[in-house]
């Protein structure tokens, strides 16, 4: 199919450059589109250790196609589908561009976020996907969007002959809220509130990534105390999210007491976060230029509550991992091989269960992470749900270690004069990329400002990046493993659907 298309040299060279860079070891960070007066600009992010490099090309409106990157980079497949849904430009390659975040009817206009476009009415086409497999006794189980329990909406199509999962597809458009378009025209001060709601369970990480992009454009350094408070909130958020993942595992395994125990621990963490910030999700803490104010708890109160939570969590985690009826369900379940993880550039605990150790806190320290000692976590290659769970347990321990250092440093600073934020120019112009390590993995924000107003914001959540790999996590798994594999991925659908 691809040979019937002739692309301009520009587009062909772009695809070759990107493929070449990834072949040489760069990690594919994402492919994003934005409207410009002359066409649609494609921007690719490539990460090599401490450096994020970008490459871009404009796809002209006369021929809204470009050569698919997913031919060589499987991780690009979902980005190409997203761009097709939102901008109507097509990646030409062997894969079909099934709708993902916004299936539109023929003739409907698309959001085409960016500058210089008029937007017509957008009509969603909710027609179910057709079966992918054919064969004797193979049938499709549509699961969702309304799930059996208190979950975010997502639709899975499971194709199965009865027990084995032969093929799995996810569609997330049900929850698509069109947040990227909402950012347009906002001030950075309002934008950070919206960033907190892009993926609500990782509010702090999103706010930090967004704000650091704005701070880079403004060329300001945040005060040390602000960096430390950002770290404190980000690590509490990580603990809460990882506990949530443990709770989901316990629920799937029918471990009623463990479920209750970890729910209690999580409630304590949420209350601690509320006591420090006034919000159970740490909202309103991070602002462009620093933080909104001092923590609501003093060092001794913080230390004693951290001690209480950590002691409880540690003892129960030890017991949980020694409970055979729990660990047996995770061992060998949902294996993501190190090779698949590398191809998809797996992020966060999902990556760290399969040998992908990238961690923005270490690779590109932000906030106050460079001042604090981070424990390295064990290199695991098993790639099963158990390995992902163990990676999360390591991270919980690591987070408590970081939190203590942050409180300690903050306490020393307090003796002197404490500054919580620096002013940010209200008439900013420019573009930059911000990042943070969310509990789900690295979050990226591409932020563009003109005269102090946001003209384009593109968040890239780890949830989106990792869920693209979800169908690869069922090599020899059966329907009853589904709940465990889903819990071990720990993604937030809000962060996928946008």
């Amino acid at each position: 199919m691809s040979d019937t298309f002739v692309f301009s040299d520009e587009l062909t060279c772009f695809a070759t450059r990107v493929s070449e860079a990834v072949r040489k070891g760069a990690r594919f960070g994402g492919l994003f589109a934005t409207r410009e007066p002359s066409g649609t600009r494609l921007l690719v992010l490539l990460e090599e250790g401490a450096i994020i490099s970008t490459d871009s090309v404009v796809v002209q409106d006369a021929q809204p196609q470009y050569p698919a990157l997913s031919l060589e980079i499987p991780a690009a497949a979902w980005y190409e589908r997203e761009i097709h849904d939102l901008f109507g430009i097509e990646a030409i390659g062997p894969r079909r561009l099934d709708p993902l975040v916004l299936p539109t009817t023929t003739g409907s206009s698309r959001p085409r976020t960016g500058s210089g476009t008029t937007k017509g009415p957008i009509e969603i086409d909710p027609t179910p996907l057709s079966a992918h497999l054919r064969g004797e006794g193979v049938f499709t189980i549509p699961y969702g969007p309304v799930r059996s329990g208190v979950f975010e909406s997502i639709e899975y199509l499971v194709e199965t002959p009865g027990e084995d999962i032969l093929h799995l597809r996810a569609r997330v458009f049900h929850k698509h809220r069109g947040i990227e378009t909402r950012f347009e025209g906002m001030t950075p001060a309002d934008g950070v509130l919206l960033a907190e709601r892009y993926e609500g369970v990782a509010s702090v990480a999103h706010a930090v990534a967004f704000s650091s992009a704005v701070e880079q454009i403004a060329g300001v350094e945040i005060p040390e105390g602000a960096g430390l408070l950002r770290v404190l909130h980000a690590e509490l958020e990580r603990v809460a999210n990882h506990l949530e993942s443990v709770i989901r595992h316990c629920e799937a395994a029918g471990q009623a007491v463990a479920f209750a125990r970890f729910s209690l621990h999580k409630e304590r963490v949420q209350r601690l976060r509320a006591a420090i910030s006034g919000s159970r999700f740490g909202r309103g803490v991070v602002i462009p230029g620093g933080v909104s104010g001092p923590p609501g708890l003093g060092a001794s109160a913080l230390f004693s509550s951290i001690d209480q939570v950590e002691a409880g969590v540690r003892a129960d985690l030890r017991l949980l991992m020694a409970t055979p009826s729990f660990a047996d369900r995770l061992r060998g379940t949902g294996i993501v091989s190190p090779e698949v993880a590398r191809q998809f550039g797996a992020l966060g605990p999902v990556g760290r269960g399969s040998g992908q150790m990238a961690d923005a806190r270490i690779d590109r320290p932000y906030a106050a992470y460079s001042l604090l000692g981070l424990r390295s976590i064990e290199h695991r290659l098993q790639g099963d749900a158990l390995a992902r769970q163990r990676a999360r347990m390591d991270e919980i321990e690591g987070s408590f270690h970081i939190i203590r250092q942050a409180i300690d440093r903050m306490e020393h600073l307090r003796a002197g004069k404490m500054q919580w934020a620096v002013p940010v120019d209200l008439k900013l112009n420019g573009q930059s990329i911000g990042w943070a390590e969310a509990p789900q993995g690295e979050v990226l924000y591409i932020v563009q400002l003109e005269e102090g107003r946001l003209t384009r914001v593109k968040p890239r959540s780890a949830s989106f990046h990792n869920l693209a790999m979800f169908q690869a996590a069922f090599p020899k798994d059966v329907l009853t493993d589904f709940a465990f594999i889903e819990a071990s991925f720990g993604v937030s659908i809000a962060g996928v659907a946008g």
Binding site: S148, S153, F173, H174, A260, R271, A275, R280, G298, S305
Partner: protein, 292 residues
């Protein structure tokens, strides 16, 4: 079975709300109010402009806040602490959308009494036990955490005869979170229609009430009220578990009149400002009931 003693060792952590007051309730930032005695005639336009959701409007020179779109960012309380303040407490849910606009638009008590009586008749059979079907219609994900928290040992809503169910066929109460995305509207309608009568709908969170910070857009309907009839509105972004619990109890008529002054907030959540409430919080170990 090493888990059983582990559970027992902790003792009772469960709240006694609504039979007893819970220490955690009043420490929470629940709503922004206009201070009654405030001289709000000068320069309130700044706060109006600063509100990211346009929740503040001016009527006859006095500000009015729509708690159905307030995301509690606190910008107005910072700009004009003499006019706006955070109110603690969690008893924020209302039976009528208009009642979320404070100070109240003069609405005849009759209208409210009618609404409340109609709902009361409908839910008479649900008073002892209610089954809830939760549906996410475009939330940011945090609302689900708060809804799920209702089943943790601290809130433990099963003790009140409140249960979550997977099938809409078993459900009496629909608890919707999120902005009402275009992609979920059919699912929302079908879920509502699949529920047997009598049924009650709760819009949980400002996103479900008005769309919150997202408002209306190409993919968002700005709340669920245009798709299904809403009986109870629970503000918050996201609403805390206690706010949700209060909304549920309000929906099924489980709150006595002493708990609730007609058309307004319960008397117990008034009069204590957040400053003193937060100092309790430190001394009481986050205001958690006794031991937690």
């Amino acid at each position: 079975m090493p888990w059983i003693p582990r559970g027992l060792r902790e003792g009772v952590v469960t709240s006694r709300y609504p039979r007893r007051r819970d220490g955690y309730g009043p420490v929470f930032r629940a709503a922004v109010r206009v201070i009654d005695a405030a001289d709000a005639t000068t320069r309130i336009e700044d706060s109006v402009a600063a509100c990211p959701t346009g929740a503040i409007t001016i009527h006859d020179g006095r500000p009015r806040i729509d708690q159905g779109s307030c995301i509690l960012c606190g910008r107005c309380t910072e700009l004009r602490p003499d006019v706006f303040r955070f109110d603690p407490g969690f008893e924020t849910a209302e039976l009528r959308r208009e009642a979320l606009v404070v100070p109240e638009i003069t609405e005849s008590d009759e209208v409210l009494r009618l609404a409340s009586a109609e709902l009361g008749r409908r839910v008479r059979a649900l008073r002892k036990s209610v089954h809830i079907r939760h549906i996410d219609v475009g939330s940011d994900g945090s609302d689900e955490w708060e809804v799920a928290a209702l089943t943790n040992p601290v809130y433990d809503v099963q003790r009140l005869g409140v249960f979550f169910t997977a099938s809409p066929r078993h459900a009496d109460l629909l608890l919707a979170t999120g902005v009402g995305t275009v992609g979920m509207l059919d699912a929302l309608r079908q879920t509502y229609e699949a529920m047997p009568e009598p049924k009650v709908v709760i819009a949980a969170g400002v996103e479900a009430i008005s769309g919150g910070l997202l408002g209306r857009g190409y993919a968002s309907h700005g709340g669920i009220a245009t798709t299904v009839p809403v009986d109870v509105f629970v503000p918050g972004s996201p609403p805390s578990p206690f706010s949700l619990l209060y909304g549920i109890l309000l929906a099924i008529g489980r709150l006595s009149t002493a708990d609730r002054a007609p058309g307004g907030r319960s008397p117990r959540s008034q009069g204590k400002d957040l400053g003193t409430a937060r100092s309790d919080l430190y001394s009481e170990g986050f205001g958690m009931e006794g031991r937690i």
